[in-house]
Symmetry: C2
């Protein structure tokens, strides 16, 4: 890796995704960011709900933090029409929450195969239909929907959108002010087309998340992510491509890992901050 | 799934990849195929070496079995030039073994990141260079090299070639009589472009392997494969695309799974045979 070069952003672009300090409540996570001079936070709906939406928004605002994204909407793939309708309603609520929190982006984890079905195209159609229903609501609230491609090992159970290029093809069916894509290094680093797809994404990139691919994978592959620099991902080419595509917003560190969660949160925040330049 | 339809092959196209009965020696695996009226076998070099090449070839021939492939060559990505040269030499030996066994195909698992490096393009260049060196040897022996795309969860440590389309792009840099691609359902099922890539592959398809994607993934993700029908893969569209592309050779069942390996081999062979029609 080339490490921190002339074009690297200052820590002023760092955002701590709340999932990285999974055991903290919202107010504690906000305090942690303030203590470590991290200017932005990526929030999770569950933690916002615990605090209450208005109180959460007030807490973040009072701390002077920016909200880089709200996680997460999606999970659109259901056999039962009532369940699909409930998912749409829940996503509309999430859009309104994002707006109330000042988050410009709602991250979408779109959903895996429809329960009882092996039909990938069916699942993909349901996702496209659902996003189409959400577009007017997103525009009304000034929130962009960020379609996240998840690593293909999650295709069956979490997200059938498995490549950045696929997420982008889907996003481009909708207006750019309403639907974009999330680039998460963990999910897309392996793809021979990823740099070309980032370039093609351009203004559609609404969020950039970094964490590392660490081996061996843990028993629960959801929890295998590592701090930047602990794994196998070559971040600088990805970050350079994201910058060249025109994305200059916050860069979220989002790490799902039991050992990271068990570490003292101040240690985690310090490590996130210290490693951040290695991503560029 | 539509199940077995008019176009489904008879069990006459079934091949048992020897890895599915991992604990059997070559002669035992051959006997198992004969007992279960399975007309072909996919061999592994380690088992061939145990038996001795000439004896292995004679055993298979005497049983009247066809050899659908030899597993495996590859692992070309090494920092040390001497290690790269050793890999080339070993692959040349594997090609000669395939020819002696009557296997028309040597399956290549190309290798992960170069040790000590995070440079994916470097690893990919090393693989292309190595295959280029092997082409004349493959042609001389009448053996085709089958580039296998592995699931992206193996990109770092086993194979940086992660999509069928990528394997095909690489294969097309070489003559079709020397280099093709392996389609393994487990590795490629999630890819939105897979049907188009199979169509594009056409005569480049040199092997078709089936096994299922089963959740949850086990602690060692190498061993998560299931019998056809036990998991999430919709086989008929994949098999139809492979047939439409012009591949009418043997279809190998290759399952890495501790529980399958612990089952009585006759039960495993019977299940493989019984489930085979579900793949079409």
């Amino acid at each position: 890796m080339t490490g921190n070069a002339a074009g690297a952003p200052a820590a002023g672009r760092l955002s701590l995704n709340q999932a990285t300090v999974h055991k903290l409540g919202l107010a504690q996570a906000v305090d942690l960011c303030v203590r470590h001079d991290i200017p932005a936070i990526g929030l999770w709906r569950e933690r916002v709900a615990e605090t209450g939406l208005a109180a959460a928004a007030a807490t973040v605002r009072a701390a002077g933090l920016q909200v880089s994204s709200l996680c997460r909407g999606g999970f659109f793939t259901h056999a039962d029409p009532a369940a699909r309708a409930a998912a749409i309603a829940d996503n509309k609520a999430a859009i309104a929450e994002a707006a109330a929190l000042g988050a410009g982006v709602l991250v979408l984890v779109s959903g895996g195969l429809v329960p009882g079905s092996r039909d990938l195209p069916l699942a993909r159609r349901m996702i496209a239909d659902a996003i189409g229903e959400l577009v007017p609501v997103a525009r009304e609230h000034g929130v962009r929907l960020g379609i996240e491609a998840l690593h293909p090992m999650f295709a069956a159970d979490r997200c059938v959108i498995t490549r950045l290029g696929e997420a982008l093809d889907l996003a481009q069916r909708f207006p750019a002010d309403a639907v974009g894509v999330v680039v998460d290094t963990y999910h897309v680093w392996w793809d021979a087309a990823v740099l070309a797809d980032i370039a093609r994404a351009g203004e559609r990139i609404v969020s950039y998340q970094v964490c590392d691919w660490v081996l061996p994978l843990p028993a629960d592959v959801l929890l295998g992510r590592g701090h930047v620099g602990d794994g196998m991902i070559d971040f600088p080419p990805l970050s350079a491509a994201v910058a060249a595509a025109g994305y200059h917003g916050y860069v979220e560190t989002e790490i799902f890992n039991e050992r990271v969660w068990d570490a003292p949160p101040d240690d985690t925040a310090a490590t996130v901050r210290k490693r951040f330049p290695l991503a560029f």
